[in-house]
Every structure is written in C-alpha cells, then in structure tokens.
C-alpha cells in the first residue's frame, strides 16, 4: 500500500475521496443526496445517491452494484431547528430541552433562520437547484426518542435538488493516478433530529436524552446488485454507519453477500440491516417487522418556506424576514476543490497531497504559515508537514492546534536544513526534541547537541581517507562492487564525525577517493 497515511486519512475524514483496491470497485457517475436536518441536534439527510461499482469474478458474467447514500449531517448552529434551545456539546442529559422539544401540548415549531441558510449554502456548494418554495411534512412513527410521535421533515418538496459533487479517486499502481468522478445529489432536506437513546440491558430499560442525537455524521447505505443491461435489483438498507471506514466495509460486505445469495439461486429481501462492527458483516435488524407506513402529512404549523434571489426580492422587504439566495452564494467560502487546485498550481504539490492537506483541520493553515517563513522548497515543506509533522500528531492523537511545534519553529528548522547547516537525519532529531521540550529554538538545540554539519570539506576528506585506510577489507569489498560495503564505510565516517557529516557528501567523497 502506497501512501498509507493518505489513504487512512481520506477514508477516515473525507469519504468523497475513495481510494480503491486495484481490480475491485470503481466509482462511476454516481448520485448522492443530502438532507440537512436540525432540531435537537440537527441533521442533514441525504437521499438515494447512486455509486455504481463493478466487480468481476473469474469467468462469470459481471455484476454491477448500485449504492445510494442517505447522509445525516448535523448543522452547526446555536439553537435547534424548530425551537430556541441551545445546542452544546456534552451538556448534562435533558438540560437543553425546550417545551417544544419535550412535545408539551400546545407548543409550535418556529423555523431557525441559520439552519435554512446552512441548507442553502450546502445546496449551492453541491451545485444543487435551490427550490424557492419548499414544504414541511410530518413523518409519523412511535419511538421513545421522538416525543411528538412524528418527525418534521421535507418529504414532498425539499429545499434543494439535483446537485453534484466531483471527487477524485486514486487508482493504478501505488495509487498515483488520480481520476475525477462525479456523484449525483438527489436532494437536500431540512429535518428534525431525534433524541438519544441509551439502552440499559441490565435493568431492561432505555434512557432518553432529548438534548440531541448522537453522531455529527450518520449514513444509511442502500445497496443492490444487478447485471449490467438488466433492471436494478432489490435493495437493502444498511443503517447508522458512523464512519467512512465502516461504511466502505459494510458496502463491500453487502455487495458480496447479495452476489453470493443471487448466485446460489436465493432472493434478496427488501429489508433493513445493520452492520456488526466486530464480525464485519451486515445482519437483519430485528425490530423492523413489516414495512413502515409513515403516514406522511403536511406540517400545518409551518407555512411554505419561500426563498428569494435578488431579482425576485419584494420591494421594501425586511432583510430580517427574508433569505436571499444570491447573498448566501456571495458568502460561500472557497470550496475545497478550488483550494486544492490553487495549491497544486501554486506549489506544484501532488493532487493526493492536496487532499491530505485539506483533510486535517488546521493543517492547511499550518502548512501555509510554514511556507511563508521558510525558503525551503514547497515539496520539502509538504513532505515534512504531511509525513513527519502529521505522523507525530497522529501518534499522540493530537489535533493541529494542539501541536507543541508552531509553524515558525518548523520553518526555522527547515531553513537550517535548506542552508545545509544540518543533515536530514539531524533535522529529525531536532524535531523530536522540539516536540518534547517547548521553548527551545531549533538553533539552540542544534548548537547544544552539536549537530551542525561539518563545513570543512577538507577535514572530512581526511577522515574518509583515514577510515578507508583503517578498513582495507571493506575497501576491497567496495572495489568488488558490493553495494553494502560503502554503507559500512559511511557509517564509520559518521561515527567518527559524530554524525555531523552529511551522508550524501560522505558517499561522494568516498566514491571519489576510491576511483582515484
């Protein structure tokens, strides 16, 4: 596996980047849907995207898999979608519950403006058509974490439809080849999230916390297989997958399971399944007997949601009361694809590295700050940031903003390296020390530990000559063409010079002396 860090990163963070095992799945013209929801914790829920995959088995005719993702993403807002309760992470249970959230009789939903703006922004970022009129519905089912007995959602006419997302897939040898794919976004809808259920098996009871549901991002996958050219197969739904890694595994498993079943002459049931993380397989969900009829009904307490653009804005409209799509479009931040493109153009870094820089929170800023203060080449900076720096963070489970090494400090270190004051190996040692002991500058550490490279080339030549004289056997090996012999000599020279000589230079000198 090439670039293990990148791969782990993209699967763990940015599910839109799919790194694929050679010979198995390709993404092809897929569609993804988002619905954004909010209430006690808000969610985006996506609907029915299609990620077409292909898998060939030896000798048998091909199967095509079709995958649709329903993605629930919680909106980051100060208060909930329909009530004024605050949204705080890790608040005591049931401490952020308004009368409406508790479904007290007589309470009514009031739409949160920020959530609507977030939904519009998401729709625009995903190239959707924003519906200037969208409607709210009630979806009925009984469950303890749904106090009203229904969820307010947008089933008939959601806020955004028909979008797309371009993403890159690393394929080929060493995942160096990057191809661009597009996934379709069927729709984005706003909806309430439920509360949180905690099952206490011991006391046979369930505890309900109505603050917000768990999981900032939750995904349900709809999967079916068919032979290309034939109609689509029966689909199953795999619910509540919370990480991209498990999502991929669950989908892979389910595709294979369906293929196996069909090839053995069995039928696929249109059922709901869950993913058993420990066993790595999907299992039918016991609770769902029969098909649910949600008895959708228009939500009578919320009038149609009307959005405007600059052209359709009514004259004299109160800006507090209306949402202008054009204004929101102006406020869109630079989208990741644009940022990545800029990075590639500006710094000549590889596409897969551009993904990695964007996938870790704060990493891009860190990188850019280092670049500002160093004369080292961007490629060098990239390598240091993505391999060494990020490696240290991950080992210690730290976020970028928790790093003891600041961009300036790293920049200083890279400058020393760039000026050949220290060797690469020495630089790594210094970095280790910087991580441990705050307050010391790289220059301080270098001088304290005497890590400066020998600048005196003549002295180095003398050392090399001496070492060669002292080890004639090794020299003989070298002359005979043994490639490892030279490394031994380099090692000896380094020892003598207390590692203060650049191994590359040592090698050059030894080779020169040998040939002469």
């Amino acid at each position: 596996m090439a670039a293990p860090m990148l791969r782990g990163r993209c699967l763990g963070r940015c599910w839109a980047l799919a790194c694929i095992d050679s010979g198995s799945r390709h993404g092809r013209g897929a569609a993804t849907g988002f619905t954004s929801s909010g209430k006690r914790g808000q969610s985006f829920v996506a609907q029915q995207p299609l990620l077409t995959a292909q898998k060939s088995r030896k000798g048998e005719h091909k199967w095509a898999a079709v995958v649709g993702l329903e993605i629930h993403a919680q909106i980051a807002s100060n208060s909930k979608l329909f009530s004024g309760s605050q949204v705080h992470f890790a608040a005591p249970p049931n401490s952020l519950v308004s009368f409406f959230d508790a479904s007290l009789p007589g309470t009514l939903p009031v739409l949160n403006r920020r959530c609507v703006e977030a939904a519009v922004m998401t729709g625009l970022a995903l190239n959707c058509h924003i519906n200037k009129k969208s409607l709210f519905d009630r979806k009925h089912y009984f469950y303890a974490d749904l106090p009203a007995g229904y969820q307010i959602t947008q089933q008939r006419l959601p806020i955004a439809v028909n979008g797309s997302l371009a993403y890159s897939v690393c394929v080929g040898k060493k995942w160096r080849q990057v191809i661009t794919k597009t996934v379709r976004i069927k729709q984005i809808q706003l909806e309430q999230d439920s509360g949180k259920s905690l099952h206490d098996e011991l006391r046979s009871q369930t505890l309900i916390d109505l603050n917000r549901a768990e999981g900032q991002l939750r995904v349900d996958a709809n999967i079916s297989v068919h032979h290309p050219g034939e109609p689509l197969g029966v689909r199953t739904e795999v619910k509540n997958l919370n990480s991209a890694r498990f999502l991929a595994r669950a989908i892979d498993y389910e595709i294979q399971r369906q293929i196996n079943e069909l090839e053995n002459g069995c039928e696929i049931l249109n059922e709901t399944r869950s993913f058993d993380y420990k066993l790595g397989c999907t299992v039918p969900m016991r609770d769902k007997e029969g098909k649910q009829d949600y008895r959708f009904m228009p939500e009578p307490n919320l009038p149609p949601l009307l959005l405007y653009d600059t052209a359709s804005l009514p004259a004299g409209a109160d800006p507090q009361q209306v949402i202008n799509i054009d204004r929101i479009r102006e406020q869109l931040p630079e989208l990741p694809s644009e940022t990545r493109e800029k990075l590639i153009q500006q710094y000549g870094i590889l596409p897969e590295h551009s993904f990695a820089l964007l996938n870790e929170v704060g990493l891009l800023e860190f990188f850019q700050n280092v670049i500002k203060e160093t004369r080292a080449e961007p490629k060098k900076v990239t390598s240091w940031v993505l391999n060494i720096f990020l490696g240290f963070l991950k080992q210690r489970n730290l976020a970028v903003n928790e790093s003891p090494v600041t961009p300036s400090v790293l920049a200083e270190l890279l400058n020393l390296l760039d000026r050949k004051v220290i060797s690469s190996a020495a630089a790594k040692q210094v970095f280790e020390e910087l991580w441990r002991s705050k307050g010391k500058t790289p220059s301080q550490i270098v001088s304290e530990r005497k890590l400066e490279l020998m600048q005196d080339e003549e002295a180095l030549e003398r050392v090399c000559h001496a070492v060669m004289e002292g080890h004639p056997q090794v020299v003989m090996d070298m002359k005979r063409g043994n490639p490892r012999a030279i490394n031994k000599l380099i090692g000896l020279v380094r020892k003598v010079t207390h590692n203060r000589a650049d191994p590359t230079v040592i090698k050059e000198i030894l080779e020169k002396q040998l040939s002469s």
Partner: protein, 468 residues
C-alpha cells in the same frame, strides 16, 4: 354587577364603584353556587384573588392597564396555563400542570385580567361543544344567548392552544355583547413569533364604530343553508333578520355556496387525520397519564393510550390513521384538501361579487335537552350541530354568533354573520348594529340564583341529567 358588559364593569372599576377584589369574590361565589353546572374543571381561586389584589393596587394608583384590568375571565381547559392544571377534559392529561402560558392567556394576563379558572369541554374538544375548530365557540354561544366570535385564522395566536386541527383551530371569544368581543380581540390579535401561522401585523386595540347607515351594506343569504332539518323557529328568526336589514336600506341577496353539502365529510377526513397526528405525542412518557405496565415501550404506549383516551378520541385517531395510510392518502386526504379549496373558493367568489357579510343560522334549533342529545352518537351529533359553522373554519374566515331571540321554550337562539378574511372589524361592526336592533335579553344568572326555589329545582334536574 356580574350581569353587566365588560365595558360597563371596566368603567365601574375605574370609577371605584366596585373594587377588583370585590368583583372577584362575587364571581367566585357565583361559581360555587352554580357548581352543579359543572362548567369549571379547575377553579383557580388563589391565583384569581392574588391577581385581583394586584389589579386593585394599580387602580388605587390610577395606573390601570386598560379595559381588561380587573375583569374576571375564564379560559377553556385546552389552553395551556402556567402552574394551573390543564387537562383538555381527558384522563390523558389528568394532573398535567404546564410550565408556560398560551400566548392568548399571557396577553389577557398582561392586560390585568383575572383568571377565574379553566372551563369544561368535551374530551380534547371533540364533541359538538369543542373549541372553535368546527363551530364550538359559536354553537354554545347561540344556545346560551351570548356572543360567540371566531376570528380569522392567523389573526390570533394558537401557541399554547392544545390543538385539535392545527389548520382550522382558532381561539374563540365568548362575551355578553359584541363591543366586549371587540375589546378582547384588540388585546389578543396580532403577530406572535411563537406561532408561524399568524400574520405579520402587530395587533392593536380598537373601538367599534357605531354603524347607523346600512344602506351601503350587501348581505348574502346562502341558499344551501336552508336545510330541511332547520327548525321552523330558527328559520323564522333568520328570515326576520334578513327583512330587518332590507327594511333599513341594506341590499339583501340570495347567494350560492355550491360545495356546502360536501363540507361535513371533507371536514371529517381532514379533522380525523390531523387529530391522529396531534394525539401521537400522548404516550405517557414525558407528561400526563402513564399506565402501570412496563413490559415494553410499545405495551406501555398502547395501555396508556387506551386508558387515557375515551372512545370518541380513539375512534378519530383510528379513522385519521386510516386516511393517512400510503394507499389511502391520495383518495382521502388529498381529495379532501381539494374539496376544502373548493369550499374556500365558494366564499371567495361570493365576497368578490359584492357581498360584505353573510347571514346564516348558527344552529339547527335551540339547545336540545340532554336526554335527547345522548340518543345520537357523537359523529351524528357533530355532523348536525356543525352544519352551519364548520365550513367557515375550513375557509379560515371570521364569524360571529349573535343572540337574536328566545324560542317558544324560552331558550336562546342565535344567528351567524360571516365576514371576509381579516375583515374582522367590519364583521363585528355589522354584528353590533344587529345586536342593537334586536335588543336580546342577556341571561342574568345572578338574579336566577338569588331566587332560591329555582336553585333547588335546577340542582335536582342537573343531578338527574348529568348521571353518566
């Protein structure tokens, strides 16, 4: 004093002829004497006296809050009242004490009104005597000889009104005279940010002008409302009222609301569907009645709801869920929505043709005695009693029942005026004119009670007829 209008009492309070506390005590005393009427579910005596005392302080300082300061009011028990039990007359909410006031309750209290208690209703307002979803402010008003006013949908906040049918419910106002209804409307109307179905305009108090010249008025008489079941007495009052307007110079014409005959059925589909949805929250988990079963959540829900709801409520939930099933939705719910649009358009067309106000009966007849009443099932009764009133709720229009005369049996009969959407002020102006012409003798309960012999008779009758 208790027989006077709101404006008269308000004036008396201002002039110091009576104090708020005295008034409150008189009211409480009468409530206690008439307990056999079972009009109140909860009497909030302590709260009322406290509010009366505060009102008194304000009057002494000359800082009264307005026309409603110190005025005793009662609120139907499907309005949420903070700290005061709110039951909707249902087992499901027995013991439920809300932590917040409905907006309309809050607005009344902000004006210094004194809350005497929570009045009775059919369970969750699903009888003929319900909140004004199908006519249940206007119907009882007609039967009791008082003014019952249903504002335009969207004019008065529903926040805190425990809903029956969200798209039709409106808080209704019951008063002795039309002016009083206008006074209360001035306090209650206006945008509520907590209710997204209210219009944007903030409300403001207003005084009804005294109409003297009705020659510019056009009164419409919908011909479909002349049904065979209409009692001859009520028909005659209706006819006389039309003649009265005509003789005073108004234009009185026959109009048609062609889809009237479909409105009862349409109403039932939409009503039961919304009811099924609105009742879904009553599961015993967060508040209200909870059964003893704890085998599983589902079992708990089922038992709680069986125990907490009566037959009528359960029947409507089942019907509503049926209509909302995927396979039925298009044929029932959507169709009913379309019919609702047709019914609403009937009214729009009539008003667009130059009619200002419609004049109709409120009820088929005077109040039916209890023993007669219980002979029919709830659905039949509702269908009959709501026949004139419920199309108005479907169209969201304002309507008011004004008492016109006593029947041969000595029971009150009212007539209904229906106005254009958001032309509540105009509607009440016309109603006020009519009220002045008719001079209906409003009931003086205090005088009745003062006559001891009547009390014993009434109590005896009441205990017989109220036996369940």
């Amino acid at each position: 004093m208790l027989g006077r209008t709101l404006q008269e009492v308000s004036a008396a309070l201002k002039q110091g002829q009576i104090t708020p506390v005295e008034l409150c005590q008189k009211c409480l005393s009468l409530i206690k004497k008439t307990k056999f009427l079972n009009a109140y579910i909860t009497i909030s005596e302590e709260v009322a006296l406290k509010q009366a005392e505060e009102s008194e302080k304000r009057y002494k300082k000359g800082h009264s809050l307005g026309a409603l300061d110190g005025i005793p009011v009662a609120v139907k028990d499907n309005f949420s009242t903070s700290g005061i039990e709110t039951t909707c007359a249902s087992n499901m909410l027995k013991g439920y004490v809300p932590p917040y006031n409905a907006t309309v309750v809050q607005r009344l209290l902000d004006q210094g009104a004194v809350l005497m208690g929570k009045t009775n209703l059919d369970e969750f307002a699903m009888g003929a005597l319900g909140s004004d979803t199908g006519g249940s402010t206007r119907n009882p008003a007609a039967h009791c000889g008082i003014v019952g006013f249903k504002p335009s949908y969207g004019l008065v906040s529903r926040h805190g009104l425990i809903p029956l049918v969200n798209s039709m419910d409106v808080p209704g106002i019951l008063t002795r005279c039309v002016d009083d209804a206008a006074t209360v409307l001035g306090v209650l109307a206006g945008h509520d940010p907590k209710d997204s179905t209210t219009i944007q305009d903030p409300g403001k108090p207003f005084m009804l002008s005294s109409l003297t010249d009705v020659s510019k008025l056009c009164i419409g008489i919908p011909k479909e409302y002349l049904v065979p079941e209409l009692s001859s007495e009520v028909r005659s009052f209706w006819s006389k009222a039309a003649n009265l307007f005509e003789s005073e110079g108004a234009k009185v014409i026959e109009v048609s609301l062609p889809h009237t005959s479909y409105s009862i059925v349409c109403y039932h589909v939409l009503c039961t569907s919304e009811v099924a949805s609105n009742m879904a929250r009553f599961d015993g988990l967060e508040y209200g009645h909870r059964c003893d079963i704890d085998v599983s959540t589902e079992a708990m829900y089922a038992a709680t709801r069986r125990e907490g709801f009566n037959d009528v409520v359960r029947g409507r939930i089942l019907a509503g869920n049926f209509f909302l099933l995927k396979e039925n939705y298009a044929n029932y719910f959507i169709k009913a929505q379309k019919v609702r649009r047709l019914i609403a358009n009937d009214f729009v067309n009539v008003f667009n043709s130059g009619v200002d106000v419609l004049l109709t009966p409120t009820t088929l007849s005077e109040a039916v005695p209890y023993l007669e009443f219980i002979k029919e099932d709830n659905r039949t009764r509702s269908a009959q009693d709501d026949i004139f009133t419920q199309a108005v709720n479907m169209a969201g229009l304002p309507a008011v029942s004004v008492p016109v005369a006593l029947s041969n049996q000595g029971l009150p009969v009212g007539l209904q005026f229906i106005g254009r959407a958001f032309c509540d002020q105009q509607l009440l102006t016309v109603a006020k004119w009519f009220e002045k012409q008719v001079q209906f003798p409003v009931i003086q309960l205090q005088e009745l009670m003062d006559d001891c012999s009547s009390v014993f008779e009434i109590e005896k009758l009441a205990s017989v007829s109220l036996k369940q």
